[in-house]
Symmetry: C2
Subunit: 333 residues, 2 copies
């Protein structure tokens, strides 16, 4: 559990894309951030108030979150100066970088001296159990994709936000680094030991009120040979009541796998649903989320209409048209 | 890579069942063991010559392998006396125990002093890559089960032995602790970090001669919600050309999951084959291996005949009737 609110560290990020994590936090949990901290030469601005460490501290910030990717996998001295000053002022630090805060001796020493916590969200800190498969109370929705990076996290966050707005009970359950930094907690599933993956998902989505929905962040794809085992653990450990199929129609091959073509939405449905029904016989596919960012509005609308007719399910791009119809579809469960 | 041949340490094992690992080594790699070492009170005998550390050393033994489960997860002082003496004499130690040799300070100290290696085969020692899905040369066979512990390792070992006997090119590829101790190398797949599971299987089964078969040890089951992610990584990382379906007909529910019934062999076939064809479109289901240990000979024969007719594939219990017909079936690939 990472203490909120955050001050978002943008460092010397060259562009908007490298500040993806900070942008995600600002878009999905604006209440979690008091401001942004930029170094000289920073080429991005996520639209929060610029603050010094002292100003943010006065505004209540508890954790300095590294909201950008670092260049070349090295935490530079310019960054370190700020990170150490933050620890001296009583901040915790949180990071999803590949190179870990805990591997930097000077950060570890400063954290120890000042009682701060270093959160490396890529590394599990919990001893997860082996999954027991016992049916849990409450409802769960899982997004599964024809490929990786097809919009599964965005879909779950958008559905959760829509549920909240309607006053319905919902919790976004993060399973990746960005999701964990957005919400302050979750399971870094791709870093969990194989035997405990499904148990980690069970741990993440415990018993809950009968009318509460967990919106579980998907990972990988059942059709992506590098990561399909992680997806499988979500399908079985998550015991989903509802599946949302996610697709990016302009992709010509599986991400990072030039020799592999994408499955159709029909094949994804016919593969994922029976597997999910092993853990939850009542599971249904309730809707389709299409990432149409590389299509014109007209093409997107026509594509969605076609998919909706073919599949007999609501098909939307939640970014373009909102997640309302996907949330409506949960009512059938 | 664990140096062979071994001296098999049976300790004070109360019964035959607790010496399962030693028995497996003796059954499948008799050439790897020079003898057995038993402590007073040992209630088992795997039929090797009893030897002292010195006698086995003289006979060429390089590694003392703990071939038994320990009671209560504690490495007793009686065991330690032998293990330390072995290190002093120049042995390496190998163990698949849950509690690790490397966590015992006195063993670590003795190993350092005498230049011995402590092999804890539950712990990966290689930084495995992320799977790249690129088609490899050579052939691969994977056993998949309706449940865990349905005979997958036994089937792969029996098929490998039959291939060797026929002078065909075959390698058993171990993916679990027992298999690794039997052969001296492999990947402890259930202990690998999620993101690297499929890559570890690719690493284990590299390019090979076109007429060489890897007999890959299966793990878990696509239908066992605790471990299905591990199985999925084998199905995709292994790129199998041939699948063998494994089944234990008398089981009333999935192992450790009282609420879960077993799938039929038909459902296993129809689930595993399309998933395997994602990584290798040419994959086929070639045979069925049934563990009939809890059935009479008549019942077993009748059951196998029925399965064979129903499924249109050779169905055998390799323990009862040999793996010959399963190896014959590979010829169709």
């Amino acid at each position: 559990m990472i203490e909120t609110p955050y001050l978002l560290f943008l460092g010397d990020a060259p562009d908007q894309l490298s500040a993806k994590v900070a942008q995600g936090i600002k878009d999905w949990r604006p209440e979690n951030s008091v401001g942004q901290l930029r170094l000289p030469g920073c080429g991005t601005d996520i639209g929060l108030q610029d603050m010094t460490l002292a100003e943010a501290k006065a505004a209540g910030a508890k954790t300095l979150v590294i909201g950008v990717a670092n260049r070349g996998g090295i935490i530079s001295q310019a960054w370190k100066d700020v990170l150490i000053e933050a620890l001296e002022m009583g901040y915790d630090l949180a990071s999803g970088l590949h190179n870990l805060l805990r591997d930097e001796g000077d950060l570890v020493a400063a954290a120890q001296m000042h009682g701060g916590t270093l959160h490396d969200v890529r590394v599990p800190t919990v001893g997860y159990p082996i999954a027991n498969g016992i049916k849990r109370t409450g409802k769960r929705c899982l997004a599964v994709g024809t490929d990786c990076s097809a919009g599964k996290m965005y879909t779950a966050l958008a559905m959760d936000a829509e549920m909240q707005e309607r006053g319905l009970k919902s919790t976004f359950r993060a399973t990746g680094q960005t999701g964990i930094l957005i919400t302050g907690h979750g399971v870094p599933l791709d870093a969990v030991i194989a035997d405990f993956m499904a148990g980690a998902v069970e741990y993440l989505t415990p018993d809950n009120d009968e009318d509460h929905w967990d919106m579980i962040e998907g990972q990988g794809s059942l059709f992506h040979v590098s990561y399909s085992g992680v997806t499988m653990a979500l399908v079985h450990g998550g015991q989903p009541d509802a599946l949302i199929l996610c697709h990016e129609p302009t992709r010509t091959h599986m991400r990072g796998l030039p020799g592999y073509s994408l499955p159709t939405l029909e094949v994804l449905r016919d593969t994922a649903l029976p597997l999910a029904q092993v853990a939850n016989p009542a599971c249904k596919v309730v809707g389709i989320s299409v990432n149409t960012q590389h299509m014109s509005e007209d093409d997107a609308v026509a594509y969605l209409k076609d998919v909706e007719e073919r599949m007999g399910l609501p098909a939307v791009d939640p970014y373009r048209h909102g997640a309302g119809r996907l949330v409506d579809a949960l009512a059938s469960i």
